[in-house]
């Protein structure tokens, strides 16, 4: 198949991202002499239109039958270059990428060594690519029903959007009612519309819509299958199990609040009038802001970033609490017009639309703002006997440089958002990953923010990271656009990369049957051979390495291809010694 290959190799300098550390001309100079290489070029931006066109033209001009692109990670641009070569008339699987950016130029700081490594990686790709085989995408039917997990504002929005497009939806909510955390909120920043109104409209439309099956007090027990063709079991009220079939899954499981009692110096749990933002929301919803003894507070101190940003608990910013704190200044003033309000903040993050104006308006409404260092938080202590207030808040105010003591009847802690305690189980259920803080990971943070590493599984709202309502709703709608696009196509194309058993080599030992985590391998008792059901195989390769007879081949990850890569990286190195 191989030695007569005509390989085109394209080395990208990625602006200066690669070129600054790797000498791309030296890489092309070395690579062009490797066996099979018909043409080898370096270019500023291979992924740009001119870059891709260069490949397309060369395929025709030089009659190339394989292409290697040494550039960024294949996780970034493999689809781009596969599309490009297929535009040039080659099978998309005739491409191999060498990752000389994420795994080379960006992580090394010695020019010579980085250049040497880029040569080795490119050499490995050049040796591997002749052994690539052509594959055609597999078409599978697309089930138009979807499963939405979580009935907060994200889940409600996603369900409505799909149902409005006439597609069936199962909305599974753990709790006994819909609404999620938004149902615990009074007014919403920055325009102060009522959360209740926002939700009532959604919930009312969801419960009335015949396309939506709402399942309360329910949880997903298990999920199997693959994009377009998932099966799920839903357990309701701890017992009844419903089996459903769906084509897509949207995870909208939201967040939980940071446990304020972890921060000893704020006295939550110790002082009855130290409350969290959610405690205050409850009071505001009831229209009464009162202390435990029923009296109206005169001095209210709001402390921002509780559990967020300092790294002592969480390092990230929870994004909504700065603006939420501003709305409290308004809300408290309405319920207790004589109250003095102080807002202790670390930075005022007013980045959203309408937020900076909201900050300015609030600053005009008798709130005193004081800034503290996130590593030197304020402390809350009991006031001395006979004082007319009940607590004392001490803060090192950064802007004035002074230590300030503030009287307080009530302290409001702006608790941050955290990944839910069961996020790990959900991640495993739908087979997606979590970041170090427990938030679900998107397929690409900028270009593909609602898809995940599992085809057909999407994430929206606060389960992916702290988010306000507008961003949550936008994401929820984005997931449905992705799903509706697939439904419109009627069928979906899945990667033809799976494992295959060579009947002639299979001894019928059935070792592989047990190894497959997806039960994708069947045993044929008549033939006394095993066979893989291709659409069920997810190409992990576990059976391939486990078959004692070497009868199983992993498409696109064959032993031969990997051996060539190993030789590539090492041969290059020893030729230098």
């Amino acid at each position: 198949m191989t030695t007569e290959c005509k390989i085109g190799v394209y080395v990208c300098s990625c602006g200066t991202n690669i070129g600054k550390m790797v000498d791309c001309d030296a890489v092309t100079g070395y690579t062009k002499n490797l066996p099979g290489v018909a043409v080898c070029k370096s270019y500023k931006y291979m992924c740009s239109n001119p870059g891709q066109e260069m490949i397309v033209k060369d395929i025709q001009r030089y009659g190339l039958d394989r292409v290697v692109v040494a550039a960024c990670s294949p996780r970034m641009h493999e689809p781009t270059f596969r599309a490009a070569i297929s535009h040039g008339g080659l099978n998309p699987y005739y491409l191999e990428m060498a990752n000389i950016r994420e795994q080379c130029s960006w992580v090394h700081d010695d020019h010579q060594q980085a250049t040497d490594k880029a040569k080795a990686l490119t050499c490995a790709a050049v040796k591997r690519v002749p052994f690539h085989e052509p594959f055609d995408m597999q078409s599978v039917p697309m089930n138009s029903a979807s499963l939405v997990i979580g009935g907060g504002v994200a889940g409600l929005t996603a369900a409505l959007e799909l149902a409005d497009a006439n597609q069936p939806v199962y909305l599974v909510e753990k709790d006994g009612k819909l609404g999620g955390n938004l149902a615990r909120i009074d007014l919403t920043s920055p325009y102060l519309d009522s959360a209740k109104d926002l939700l009532a409209e959604r919930i009312c439309r969801v419960t009335k819509n015949p396309k939506i099956t709402v399942m309360l007090n329910s949880e997903v027990e298990s999920i199997s299958g693959y994009v377009g063709n998932f099966k799920a079991q839903i357990k309701s009220n701890g017992e009844a199990v419903t089996d459903i079939e769906i084509g897509s899954i949207i995870v909208c499981t939201g967040f939980r609040e940071f446990d304020a009692s972890k921060v000893g110096e704020y006295g939550y749990g110790r002082f009855p009038n130290v409350v969290t933002s959610f405690d205050l929301e409850k009071m505001l919803k009831e229209g009464r802001v009162v202390m435990k003894d029923g009296k109206t507070p005169k001095y209210v101190t709001i402390i921002n970033c509780v559990g967020s940003r300092s790294g002592k608990y969480n390092r990230y910013c929870s994004r909504v609490c700065c603006m939420t704190a501003l709305k409290y200044a308004n809300g408290i003033k309405s319920a207790a017009p004589d109250a003095f309000i102080t807002n202790l903040y670390t930075d005022m993050n007013a980045f959203g639309k309408g937020c900076e104006d909201f900050y300015r308006r609030s600053a005009e409404r008798d709130t005193i703002f004081m800034m503290f260092d996130k590593h030197a938080p304020p402390t809350v202590s009991a006031a001395g006997k006979g004082e007319h207030f009940n607590m004392l808040v001490k803060v090192n105010e950064i802007l004035s440089g002074e230590e300030v003591e503030i009287p307080a009847d009530m302290v409001v802690l702006m608790v941050g958002m955290e990944a839910r305690e069961d996020s790990m189980n959900v991640a495993r259920l739908v087979n997606i990953s979590r970041d170090k803080d427990g938030w679900f990971i998107e397929s690409h943070p900028k270009l593909d923010p609602v898809a995940t590493s599992t085809d057909g599984v999407f994430i929206a709202g606060a389960c992916a990271s702290p988010k306000d309502i507008p961003d949550t709703v936008a994401q929820a709608r984005a997931t449905t656009a992705r799903i509706l696009a697939k439904i419109c196509q009627g069928e979906i194309w899945v990667e033809p990369v799976y494992a295959e058993i060579n009947e002639d080599l299979c001894s019928g030992c059935r070792v592989c049957n047990e190894l497959c985590p997806y039960s994708a391998i069947d045993y044929d008792p008549v033939k006394k051979r095993s066979a893989i059901i291709s659409v069920m195989c997810k190409s992990c390769g576990g059976c391939v390495a486990g078959c004692p007879s070497g009868a199983i081949k992993a498409r696109h990850f064959t032993d031969k291809q990997i051996f060539e890569q190993i030789e590539g990286v090492l041969e290059w190195a020893s030729s230098r010694a």
């Binding site: 992580v107 040497d116 990953s433 985590p517 390495a545 990850f557 190993i566 090492l570």
Partner: protein
């Protein structure tokens, strides 16, 4: 230049390769001695891959997969974990030092950890010196 180890890394696509990419996007520096080969899951890694790399003169081989409960394919890393001691036993019989072949868990968010694993391994192998096979291969080459 003194002895520079050559290390081959076999990384699973979903956690470890992504973690290594994250080290890149976060610009976390590590020593350039490792060349990475991507496989879909640590379960795909046939012991022969490791033997092949060593026989071609690699001074070390690192296999990286997802943390025990995190494998994208549910349990692939358990398969890798179960195969590993057998491989180690075999390597011991061949006289390959323990430090040369490692199995490590690196998640998609552990760019920092990946860099630490590579630096630690590079330092240890640098201290150990070239593999016997590499010394032999290099000697053969000089003769030729």
């Amino acid at each position: 230049m003194g002895f520079e180890p050559r290390i081959v890394g076999f990384l699973c696509n979903w956690c470890s390769y992504t973690g290594a990419d994250l080290a890149g996007t976060s610009r976390i520096k590590y020593q350039p001695n490792v060349s990475i080969i991507r496989v879909m899951c640590s379960a795909r890694i046939d012991p022969t891959f490791v033997l092949k790399a060593l026989s071609m003169g690699a001074d070390g081989v690192v296999i990286c997969g997802c943390h025990p409960v995190d494998c994208h394919y549910i349990s692939g890393n358990y398969k890798a974990m179960r195969r590993f001691p057998l491989l180690k036993k075999l390597l011991k019989e061949f006289g390959v030092e323990d430090e040369r072949v490692r199995l490590e868990w690196v998640s998609a968010s552990e760019g920092q950890r990946f860099s630490e694993v590579i630096n630690d391994m590079t330092d240890k192998i640098r201290a150990l010196g070239p593999s016997k096979i590499r010394v032999q291969l290099d000697a053969d080459k000089v003769e030729r």
